[in-house]
């Protein structure tokens, strides 16, 4: 293990906590990194400095005290009401069943909770923070479709022509505002990364009307939205609308 690798591991080391961790929670090769401290004086000096910095930061955080009235404000604004007794809960459950039986149709028709505007507002943040459930190599879109089929995603997506030659595609199936969304991440080489969000048309409030895309600029991110068959699509890319048009 060289010094750079040891520093990477030791940067994330929390003495007392990480020594006890196992499985996914543990730091890989921690034992070897710690052993390096005994044979590498430069590393040992670096680690001592870092440990001192860590202790200072922890203490600095401890000094940040919440305002004296914050706890009361939280309790006052949260308005927790006592949970009903078992007998009351049974009566309430029975009454709820009767109501459900009487008003079955409107109860069963689910109202969409996600609007295009709400999704577009979250897209710049989601682009930066979403993770990849599966990543494929160029030309392996079928593996993406297969994975999406197995995981309830939008496997029958239609891609704009500008995305079909990407250098790699990754995907994720997630939930945004209680709505299932498939996210495809396209690596376009020098052109950067584009993200395609796919939602069932019926899950959106006022989905995009048709194949002609509508364009919007959200800060430094350009977004195009359209619908095709049962799906609505939201394509986003850092930059301006002119650059995004080249992908469509």
């Amino acid at each position: 293990m060289d010094t750079t690798e040891a520093k990477l591991i030791l940067s994330a080391y929390r003495p007392g906590r990480d020594d006890q961790a196992t499985g996914d929670d543990s730091l890989p090769d921690l034992g070897e990194a710690l052993a390096s401290l005994e044979t590498n004086p430069e590393l040992a000096r670096w680690f001592a400095d870092q440990s001192e910095m860590d202790e200072t930061l922890r203490a600095a955080f401890e000094e940040i005290s919440p305002p004296p009235d914050l706890r009361e404000r939280i309790l006052a604004s949260s308005k927790i009401t006592p949970f009903p007794s078992r007998a009351t809960r049974l009566w309430l459950a029975a009454a709820a069943c009767v109501l459900l039986g009487l008003s079955l149709f409107p109860i069963l028709s689910r109202q969409p909770s996600l609007s295009p505007a709400s999704l577009e507002a979250q897209i710049p943040g989601l682009n930066a923070l979403h993770h990849h459930d599966l990543a494929s190599k160029p030309g392996q879109l079928e593996s993406i479709r297969t994975w999406l089929t197995a995981h309830g995603g939008a496997a029958d997506f239609h891609l704009p022509s500008g995305l079909t030659q990407s250098q790699g595609v990754a995907c994720e199936v997630t939930t945004i505002d209680e709505t299932k969304v498939t996210i495809l991440c396209f690596h376009l080489g020098d052109q950067g990364v584009a993200h395609l969000y796919i939602v069932n048309r019926s899950d959106l409030k006022n989905p995009p009307g048709g194949l002609d895309p509508t364009f919007r600029q959200r800060g430094g991110t350009a977004i195009a939205s359209w619908s095709q068959d049962d799906r609505s699509y939201f394509l986003s890319k850092p930059g301006d609308i002119g650059e995004l048009r080249q992908l469509l």
Partner: protein, 174 residues
Amino acid sequence: MEPHEFEHLVEAHYGDLYRFAVSLTRNPDEACDLTQQVFVTFARKGDKIRDRSKCRSWLFTSLYRDFLRQKERSKRVTSMDEDGLELCAGFNPSEAAPTVAHHEAREALFSLDEAHRSILSLFYLDDCSYKEIAARLNVPMGTVMSRISRAKAALRARLQVGPQESPEGINSNR
């Protein structure tokens, strides 16, 4: 959830949640609002969390997501330019006298960009595993260690360009 159970939950977590919110917003008023809001949301939805050991993780994750939504709505730009920072004095230091080194350490941490601040805050502040850090920040597990390393390198660089006359602590060996 019973009121006393909720009260216990608030007591156990609001302090650390507030500290995390401060590191994200760098503004005590916004941090109070975020902290308060996450508990209001929990009061509405918390009964769906069957495993009570997951409550803390849910609170931190929700607060972080609320912060990101708020940031997007207000279209604030996180800048590395220190002149543009909205650092606010008066984080109500505890009754023990704050040291100069602690003050400089906080300023250095709050001057980092949001990705570094958020991961270091969870690393220092909260007793959570790397898997939990990854889940709360919605980053891959493999990214956590490298991001912590880069964040600490950025922090060290900030502290090294701080005042040379700092009497104790971090800068004493330089």
